[in-house]
Amino acid sequence: MTGYERPVLSVKHLNKQYGRGCLKCVNKASLLKNYCPSCGTVYACQDISFDVHPGEVVGIVGESGSGKSTLMKCLYFDQEVTDGEAYISVYENGEKNLFQQSAQQKRYIRNNVMGKVYQNPLLGLKMDFSSIGNIAEKLISAGNRHVKMMESRGIELLDKVNIPVHRRKEAPKKFSGGMQQRVQIAKALSNNPPLLLLDEVTTGLDLSVQASVLDLIKELQRELNISIVLVSHDLSVIRMLADRTFVMLEGKVIEEGLTDQILEDPQASYTQQLVHSML
């Protein structure tokens, strides 16, 4: 083993603004939180840099509007970044900035080296397709054509996420919230991605359902040694799953460290407030 361990994902100086900006806000000095009152531009992510290592779970916490989902959307190309770089070790040997790839290459990356679970299952699933059809869709996008193989992979995945196999033909709209999240997870895992992006996977679920989804993630992570970026405003979710944690406020990372350090010895005033509000 060498001293240098190559990250799976490396993000450098990611910026995302909604709006064009104006002369008053170019230097970001006169913003109200992340918002320019003159032109209405929102600076949702500002100069965000981090690495994710093999098998590591990186947690991102922060209040509503701090830019967590925007960051995830940028990484999955749901939104275009304003500027910045991201590299994935399994794509072009980690040498090409993902954000500068063609639309076709971005589709390839999305379908082959990443999986994402959305807070809102409507964004991650076709509610009227069968569950197994939803999984097949991702496999087809990645170039699979072999129907029998896709079927057996779909069954294997649904089983892994504890969806009864006999219900595989049912559409997610007939499932409970927790089951829908499980189908999303199965879909996200279908191409064995080295990187999984999870945006508030348990928000809005009953406590017991939350626990079972968290167990599932923990188990999959252990079994597949997958790297995960996990966004949540719930510190107990972060405590349970994340090795390292980043704290976001108004579009910026204001604190980062070992998860237990962030929770037990938070440094920034905002982080202290966040942690204490959970006690």
Partner: protein, 236 residues
């Protein structure tokens, strides 16, 4: 490095922003441990004992003083400035910690918990299975509990599991924060046997004990703490 661990002039101040308050938890701490030494810390509640261990383990951030550790992987490294990635590696492979309070994952069986400790340091599956069973057997954890969730265990059972998890790694440096606090005599003896075994194997340990008799029978040196400072040390 002559020592395995050298704590020099360590101070920890908690700044509570909303209260505009600073808490001096410990100051001017100097402790050195040679490879294979077992050092005990005693002191009243609030005197700063746990703060020292948590500072070594990276749970608390340190602004003043240094904690130099002679790592197998990194060589001499200052733990107060080590990166989170380095600390994660050291926690997995070299530095064990038994916390004063129980931290068990909700839905992972006792067997899985102990096994994970071994798997994350790269122990092969079969060996991990075998060592896990050996450790659970040693602590006489009821076989029926091996595959159930610790959330339902008694306090003593949880504690024994917590210790088993840390000890099964045979860490190079083991930090013990009142590992025997709520154990019955029988379980305490089991912990004692393991500690003695670890001493024989050369594990370096820094432990907090309120059971002085238990500690004095085992350790090479003892420090007592008062108001965040070391007040006294006795060698045996």
């Amino acid at each position: 490095m002559e020592h395995l661990l050298e704590i020099k002039n360590l101070s920890k101040i908690f700044t509570l922003h909303n209260l505009g308050k600073k808490i001096h938890a410990v100051s001017g701490i100097d402790i050195s441990l040679k490879q294979g030494e077992f050092i005990g810390i005693t002191g009243k509640s609030g005197s700063g004992k746990s703060t020292i261990l948590k500072s070594i383990y990276g749970t608390y951030k340190i602004q003043e003083g240094s904690i130099r550790y002679n790592s197998k992987k990194y060589g001499p490294i200052n733990l107060t400035t080590a990166t989170a990635r380095e600390m994660i590696y050291l926690r997995k492979h070299e530095i064990g910690y038994v916390s004063q309070f129980l931290s068990v994952m909700p839905r992972t069986s006792a067997r899985e918990l102990v096994k994970q400790s071994l798997m994350e340091m790269g122990t092969p599956q079969e060996k991990a299975d075998w060592e896990t069973e050996k450790m659970l057997e040693h602590f006489e954890l009821d076989k029926e509990l091996w595959d159930s969730y610790p959330a339902t265990f008694s306090g003593g059972e949880k504690l024994r599991l917590n210790i088993a998890r840390a000890m099964v790694k045979r860490p190079r440096l083991l930090l013990l924060d009142e590992p025997t606090a709520s154990l019955d005599l029988d379980s305490k003896m089991k912990v004692k046997v393991l500690i003695e075994q670890l001493i024989k194997e050369g594990t370096t340990m820094l432990g907090i004990f309120h059971d002085l008799e238990f500690m004095e029978n085992l350790c090479d040196r003892e420090y007592s703490m008062q108001n965040g400072m070391l007040s006294n040390s006795i060698s045996y």
